[in-house]
């Protein structure tokens, strides 16, 4: 992996400044819910049902999204899809470029991921490096039959040959812009804003 990465130019976690009234709202709560419903249906369609499905959210917000998708699938299918979380911190290619970071939870559902169809769930797809790290992390946990990717927002600007299978909203952005996803469970409201 070449060490020159656009991530270095990215803003750090500036969430507290991104209050509800800063930036332009791209998805409100209702939009967000609709997007997740659509993703849930697409997952079922593509998988031909919920059999052998495992949702792995990437912390922090990806995990909340995974749980919401699981709940929607459950509404439709009446079956609980296993949900877990997958921390990719130690697999990041920029690990050594910043101070050591706290780990986030990795929780693999009891059935494991071997021979399952794993849907990785994240909030924003950008450079693709997080997903690459997630694929590596999964490799150390088991061997899924297939891996899919679901994201709430795809903002483009990929550095790697990675694309999402299920996208809530394609959002063309400039690299100077920042996209903020806020979720009820974590931030007290549902919204996606850009500024």
């Amino acid at each position: 992996m070449p060490p020159t990465q656009p991530e270095l130019a990215e803003q750090p976690d500036t969430g507290s400044e991104t209050g509800p009234d800063t930036g332009r709202t791209v998805l409100d709560a209702r939009d967000l819910s609709r997007a997740l419903t659509r993703i849930s249906h697409e997952i079922l369609e593509r998988n031909r049902g919920s059999r052998d499905l495992v949702l792995l959210g990437i912390p922090t917000r990806g995990v909340h999204l995974a749980h919401r998708i699981a709940a929607k699938i459950s509404e439709v299918e009446g079956i609980d899809v296993p949900v877990g979380s997958l921390d990719v911190t130690m697999y990041r290619d920029d690990l050594r470029m910043r101070p050591a970071r706290a780990l986030l939870p990795t929780e693999i559902p009891p059935g494991g991921i071997d021979d399952k169809t794993v849907v990785l769930v994240d909030d924003v797809l950008y450079s693709g490096r997080t997903i690459r790290a997630a694929l590596d992390a999964m490799n150390d946990i088991g061997r899924p039959r297939a891996v899919r990717l679901a994201v709430l927002v795809d903002r483009g600007h990929r550095d790697l040959p990675i694309r999402a299978d299920f996208v809530g909203k394609n959002l063309p952005t400039s690299t100077a812009e920042s996209v903020a996803v806020r979720l009820e469970e974590h931030d007290g409201e549902d919204s996606v804003t850009i500024r």
Partner: protein, 339 residues
Amino acid sequence: MKKHLLSAADLTRDDAELILETAEELRSLADRPIKKLPALRGRTIVNLFFEDSTRTRISFEAAAKRLSADVINFSAKGSSLSKGESLKDTALTLEAMGADAVVVRHWASGAPHNLANAGWSRSSVINAGDGTHEHPTQALLDAFTMTRHLAPEKGQGLDGRRVAIVGDVLHSRVARSNALLLHTLGAEVTLVAPPTLLPYGVDSWNVQTSYDLDAVLPKTDVVMMLRVQRERMNASYFPSVREYSRRYGLDARRMATLQDHAIVMHPGPMIRGMEITADVADSERSVIVEQVTNGVAVRMAVLYLLLGGAEPAITTGDTVPEPVEGSTGPTTGDGENDA
């Protein structure tokens, strides 16, 4: 800048909690098919042992290897004639080998400080037990074990929990580090020993002391038994093994006076029949075996947080506090979840 873990006193409460939380995440690794993480790939960690301790060395070695570090074991136990020179010479050798961290165990109190501060080397130094001074990673794994049993919910801490540390406190680096760390974490420590085995000046520590084990046991949440070497008897610290065991040993009768939730710990190696009876050591209250498992996770956490990034995440030694991206960071900012 140098980054070291020399004393439990170096750890702020935030540091200690970060280590414990990180260890909690890493502990699950033991249940996975591939017990390996890539975080320290390309880092070299030297286990520098001037004193035998197979348990501690293996624990650090496993921790380092599970994080994909290269491990070099360096046993420098040898002639005591050249003992002064050997620490410095060894440090210079390790420096030349490009060690990123040195895990040092030494018979002399303060040797890790010398290694860290004498300008002999640029590596991170982790104290794996020095003389009768400290053993900070043991205290961390003890606190970790206590937390798992007494404060299993996330966000729960050891505040107000009572911990009795019983035995040869005078010669115990485990007791010193535990007293410091547990105080930082808000627990109440009582050191229980015959007066001869309590250090001079213990009144100035942030602990209580007692000569009466029976009075302490019913109130405590944790009872940690320390090893008592038989040889102490010859130096008149106590009259006989029998008298010591009677007054300060943990047997089934005494264990029965503990509260239901109380746990029994021992940093090992145990002397069954001296400070602890076999039935107590093997009882359900005993978490002694678990301490060993937890030791690997805690040492992984320490190694990862010291060496995993460009700079350590914990503010030990001479470092300036660094902000840490917490797991509860407010938002994803500019879509940096994909960063």
